[in-house]
């Protein structure tokens, strides 16, 4: 079973915002909502400027799911975190919990009334019938059900953003790192957000607080 994830390679992202545009256009995301955005750090400093494309990372232990008071989130068998807009009450708790700022709300009206939450769906729609008009109007395209991958990743010009089964995209990234290392450049193997979203890379057991207290049972 595939486990869908995103990787954004900071050494390749050129801040073209093509992923942002593709997402907004394909899913017809309304003005004021950005499911994906590009963040640049050290802007203008030669050699230190890095850009990263950020959206929902579909975390393994998603904090948005944990804090939702109406339990509108669910995880698909492919590991994609989705939500039901018919249940969402637009409280915004998920927005505070998310480490990536993924949940978005459309402000409308004179008093800034908040809409129901909107976020990246990994182009896999919602609980409505796959590929239906109702699904498109609420959640955007369901490209996974069409046999495709998220458009932001598929159309990335430098292939900085790659998305798909974690094993496949990890191997693609590992190949890049090995080529870089062979060329003596960019030895870092870190991937932005992966530890935050999916936990530590190594599977060795970590000491719990109870382990530090003599006689305590964990």
């Amino acid at each position: 079973m595939a486990r869908m994830k995103f990787i954004c390679d900071t050494e390749r992202c050129i801040e073209c915002n093509g992923c942002v545009t593709a997402c907004k256009n394909d899913n017809e995301v309304p003005w004021g909502v950005n499911r994906r955005r590009v963040v640049t750090v050290n802007d203008g400093i030669i050699g230190k400027e890095k850009s990263i494309s950020v959206a929902c990372m579909h975390c393994s232990d998603a904090p948005c799911m944990a804090v939702c008071p109406v339990d509108c989130f669910y995880r698909t068998d492919e590991g994609v975190v989705l939500h039901d807009k018919d249940i969402c009450i637009g409280c915004g708790y998920c927005s505070f919990a998310c480490p990536f700022g993924a949940p978005q709300f459309l402000s409308s009206g004179a008093f800034g009334v908040r809409s129901k939450m909107d976020k990246c769906t990994f182009c896999s729609g919602g609980p409505e019938a796959n590929g239906s008009v109702a699904e498109f109007e609420k959640y955007g395209r369901n490209r996974l059900a069409e046999g495709k991958l998220p458009l932001c990743a598929e159309m990335c010009s430098t292939k900085a953003l790659i998305g798909g089964d974690s094993e496949v995209i990890s191997s693609i990234y590992a190949k890049r790192v090995s080529v870089r290392e062979a060329n003596g450049r960019y030895p870092s193997k870190d991937i932005f957000g992966w530890t935050t979203a999916y936990g530590p890379m190594d599977s060795s057991p970590k000491p719990t607080p109870a382990d530090k207290i003599p006689g305590a049972k964990s």
């Binding site: 698909t76 796959n130 239906s132 059900a145 046999g147 991958l149 790659i162 798909g164 089964d165 693609i172």
Partner: protein
């Protein structure tokens, strides 16, 4: 004329009072979680790719993984 205005007024009042009858029920059962259909079941539109068979998980996974490899330029230009 007076009678007509009175009748119209009554009709409007009745419409206003009866408007609540058309309110959809807001009960907890309506907001129950619904099961989602797996992507390997395919989409009911004309945008599906042709190289896999809907409703067969292995076929979908194989097709997606092949498509995934297109994101690696090392596998494209050798």
């Amino acid at each position: 004329m007076k009678l007509n205005l009175k009748t119209i007024g009554l009709c409007l009042a009745a419409a206003a009072f009866l408007a609540a009858c058309s309110e959809p029920p807001e009960i907890a059962a309506k907001a129950a979680k619904r099961p989602d259909v797996a992507p390997y079941m395919g989409a009911d539109n004309g945008f599906m790719t042709k190289n896999w068979t809907p409703s067969i998980d292995a076929s979908w996974t194989e097709s997606i993984n092949k498509r995934n490899q297109n994101q690696s330029e090392y596998s494209r230009f050798k």
